[in-house]
């Protein structure tokens, strides 16, 4: 199975829909252990991104992700802009030159995204950040041989839920130390919606 340029557009569109629908939930998560703007920021950034992409005629998967990256960087605000922006930018660079994206190509794209997040955020796994979802997803993809939509969503959900018991040592939640335990990391929740959207695209729903 291969993902086409239309699938890339659908991925971003669906991600936006999910983030808009859960904007208040994301903000609630962030109010508990952060500065309370995550939902608003992500909703603004993804709205702008979806608008930008809807108005273009793309010929490559990578170009969709590149525009996504650039818009997220400038429109999300907060640390999420550079981090999600970098993830999509690195993926875009890894996918450059591929008309359709097979499982192996997307896997290497996700691995590059993980490297980008680590580098930009000077983060490692287990610090209760979005990296905890992205890293597990890259790992999951590398152990599969073909796209498995439902399993992608399940894995992303489990990765997100795993952040609940972690103590934040990076990002704004780190100021809350022990009090960050017991709450899902907002960036990981947003990442879950992005992977859930990807899973639906893989399943073929539009």
């Amino acid at each position: 199975m291969e993902l086409t340029v239309q699938d890339a557009v659908a991925w971003i569109k669906k991600s936006n829909e999910k983030i808009q629908a859960n904007k208040d939930y994301l903000t609630d998560l962030d109010q508990t252990i952060g500065d309370g703007d995550h939902g608003i920021n992500m909703a603004r950034g993804f709205h702008e991104t979806a608008e930008k992409i809807a108005g273009q005629d793309y010929t490559s998967y990578a170009d969709v992700l590149k525009d996504t990256a650039m818009t997220l960087m400038s429109k999300v605000g907060g640390a999420s802009g550079p981090l999600f922006g970098t993830a999509f930018l690195k993926m875009s660079q890894a996918l450059q030159g591929s008309d359709a994206v097979d499982h192996q190509t997307l896997t290497s794209g996700l691995e590059e995204a993980v490297n980008g997040i680590k580098q930009r955020g000077k983060a490692t796994e287990g610090e209760k950040t979005l990296l905890d979802v992205w890293s597990r997803m890259a790992d999951f993809f590398s152990h599969e041989t073909d796209f498995a939509g439902e399993k992608v969503a399940e894995e992303a959900k489990s990765a997100m839920e795993q952040t609940k018991d972690m103590m934040a040592t990076k990002g704004r939640a780190a100021y809350f130390k022990e009090r960050s335990i017991g709450h899902i990391d907002p960036g990981s929740a947003s990442s879950f919606y992005i992977f859930e959207a990807l899973a639906e695209v893989i399943e073929g729903g539009t």
Partner: protein, 124 residues
Amino acid sequence: MSYVGIVLISHSSKVACGINDMIRQVIKDVPIETAGGTDENDIGTSIEKIRQAIKRANKGHGVLVFYDIGSAKMNAEMAIEMMETDDVTIVEAPLLEGAYTAAVESGMEKDMESVAAAVTKEFG
């Protein structure tokens, strides 16, 4: 006269402007520019504002960048990477105290490395 420029990045435009006011009471000539808040002037930081502030502060002798918390440093790094320049340095020091020290040192017409070293010696 030519001085190393200073950029103050804060999540709040009021914080950035307030620090600027405090330094300006003492140091008049050193270029100091602020990048406070998001593009909409909400709490946050903006790559574009940081880029513009760095451009304005650079009078040919380099710029030292000071930042507060969270996304400020990440956005500063991205702004500098996009500008593809090597005469801008992010300094690891408290925003207010660090920038204040840097402004005094820059006012003595020291070069960028010396000013940065003086601040790092104090706070690093």
